[in-house]
């Protein structure tokens, strides 16, 4: 059962009021404008045992995403296509309010929003992931872990996911005469085939003010968010209104415009980080 959440006790009411009043005047405590996105720091290939991975810092929010390729059976209605599974967990390291245990509705919603954007835009080229058509295909597991929570987990997760997918390489496989598949992860044959790119951009609403990329303090005064998936060619690849409030039609259209501009830029940042890493220049770590 989904239930009205208790207000997080993280941000004291006085501070929340200050934040809300500043936002109404178009000012943010961090000095950002309403449409400023926080700096994003991306470490490509952070986890050696993953087939692709990324650590993303969006302000003080930290997310690690990893891709594992496993040999599995295709869906009966798509016998020559790979499969995609996206999971997200909010780790108890990220916030004193996060409990260990299976993903709650927020983590499930986050994973499903990213999953749908990847799927609808055909980000991964599933048609190239058959190993033995009709029998064995690659299953692409994307696992997202939020390690530190300073707001806007969806966007940070979507950036980490896109980076991890772009960082993923297919291991060598051998198929014997009986159709058994042996994977040799020590040899990498090609990058994961990618068709398109997508990130989400979150626009928050407090009273009548719209602003992008809320941090944790700002989220304490947000009742409604629009999470907008943006493709590299500037189309809308998904929307999710979230939170216990509503929006007017004009607000939705304004939020879209903010998101489309921001999203295309974020994808460019990811692309440049990934090619930097491919040419061996990525160095940063979690510290």
């Amino acid at each position: 059962m989904s239930h009205t959440p208790s207000p997080a006790v993280i941000t004291p009411r006085l501070k929340a009021n200050t934040i809300a009043n500043m936002l109404k005047r178009g000012v943010r405590s961090s000095g950002r404008t309403l449409t400023d996105y926080r700096p994003t720091d991306i470490v490509v290939g952070y986890v050696q045992n993953a087939d692709g991975s990324a650590l993303v810092r969006l302000g003080n929010t930290v997310v690690v995403a990893g891709v594992k390729l496993e040999v599995g059976s295709p869906y009966p209605d798509a016998p020559s296509e790979g499969a995609l599974v996206v999971n997200a967990e909010f780790m108890p390291t990220a916030s004193p309010t996060f409990e260990p245990g299976p993903p709650d509705e927020n983590a499930i919603e986050l994973a499903r929003v990213i999953d749908r954007a990847l799927r609808e835009l055909k980000v991964v080229d599933m048609s190239k992931l058959a190993i033995v058509p009709g029998r064995k295909v690659w299953v692409v597991y994307v696992d997202i872990y939020v390690l530190d929570h300073d707001g806007n987990l969806v966007d940070a997760s979507s950036i980490a996911t896109l980076t991890a997918l772009l960082n993923t390489t297919l291991p060598k496989v051998e198929v014997d005469e009986l159709g058994n598949v042996r994977v040799d992860r020590s040899v990498r044959v090609s990058p994961l085939p990618i068709n398109n790119k997508v990130v989400t951009v979150t626009v928050a609403r407090t009273e009548n003010v719209l602003f992008v990329d809320p941090d944790l303090d700002e989220e304490s005064v947000v009742e409604t968010k629009l999470v907008i998936a943006v493709s590299d060619d500037g189309r809308i690849a998904g929307i999710q209104k979230s939170g216990s409030g509503g929006l007017a039609e004009a607000e939705v259209l304004a939020a879209l415009d903010i998101a489309l501009k921001t999203g295309v830029n974020l994808i460019k940042t990811v692309e440049s980080k990934v090619s930097e890493a491919a040419s061996g220049h990525s160095t940063s770590t979690l510290n």
Binding site: H3, E109, I236, A237, K241, A248, E249, L260
Partner: protein, 241 residues
């Protein structure tokens, strides 16, 4: 099942509807005896039951809020409501939609009237033929009204789809499965608020504008149906008394 032709040569849809035409909508209020309020809503062959218990006290006191009621909501599908039998364990989709439906009705409930209580909304999908979450929002909203929960407005919902390149209203399951996009929208028309907005699929900015307009048009028609049903119910009660 082979991909059916979604838009026929005459411009009508696979089931003969015009692009901007709703399925037959049926609304019944107060269908259950032991719930505080209930409603059965049908969009074509999609059949959704909503029941409300409360406002009431609950044993899980740590969930309650000092200044208003909390709303708890479960969206649930009966195992035989779908083509393939649905396993009884709650799916991730059901967990997400429980949140989405709750957040669609929460903006109109005057929860401040009943602090330290819970208002529980249970949605049961009896037969699923596309649009179950939108029918669920409409049913939940009517069940709340039937339970006497004070509300700022009724919320009604409908999905717009893009199928065969055409934007169409109130898509059914075939159109959802084989179409290009599905955009469910919930509206509280009198207060001008969208309380649910999802897009599954890819649209340009212009297509999105059009789709939104179509959804609001459909919602207005459902809103009239819903208010009429409430009026009927209310007057019947008066007469019976």
């Amino acid at each position: 099942m082979e991909r059916p032709r979604l838009i026929r040569e005459d411009g009508l849809r696979h089931d003969g509807r015009r692009p901007d035409e709703l399925r037959p909508i049926r609304v019944s209020i107060g269908v259950l005896n032991k719930a505080s309020g209930s409603a059965l809503v049908e969009y074509g062959r999609t059949k959704v039951l909503a029941a409300v218990h409360g406002p009431r006290e609950i044993p899980q006191r740590h969930m309650l809020l000092p200044d208003r009621a909390i709303i708890r909501c479960r969206y649930h599908m009966l195992s035989f409501s779908t083509h393939e039998r649905k396993s009884p364990a709650p799916s991730r989709r059901e967990i997400e939609l429980s949140k989405v439906v709750r957040e669609a009705i929460e903006p109109v409930v005057m929860s401040e009237v009943f602090p330290r209580t819970a208002i529980d909304v249970f949605v049961e999908v009896i037969n699923a033929d596309g649009g179950t979450r939108t029918a669920a929002v409409t049913a939940a909203s009517l069940a709340l009204a039937d339970a006497g929960v004070p509300m700022r407005d009724l919320v009604v919902a409908v999905a717009v789809g893009k199928v065969g390149g055409v934007l169409v209203l109130d898509i059914d399951e075939v159109e959802d499965m084989y179409g290009e996009a599905d955009m469910p929208v919930a509206v509280a028309p009198s207060i001008g608020l969208m309380t649910l907005l999802q897009l599954n699929g890819v649209l340009t900015r212009e297509e999105f504008r059009e789709a939104l307009k179509l959804a609001l048009k459909g919602a207005t028609q459902i809103y009239e149906k819903a208010r009429e049903a409430l009026r009927d119910r209310y007057m019947k009660v008066k007469v019976e008394e």
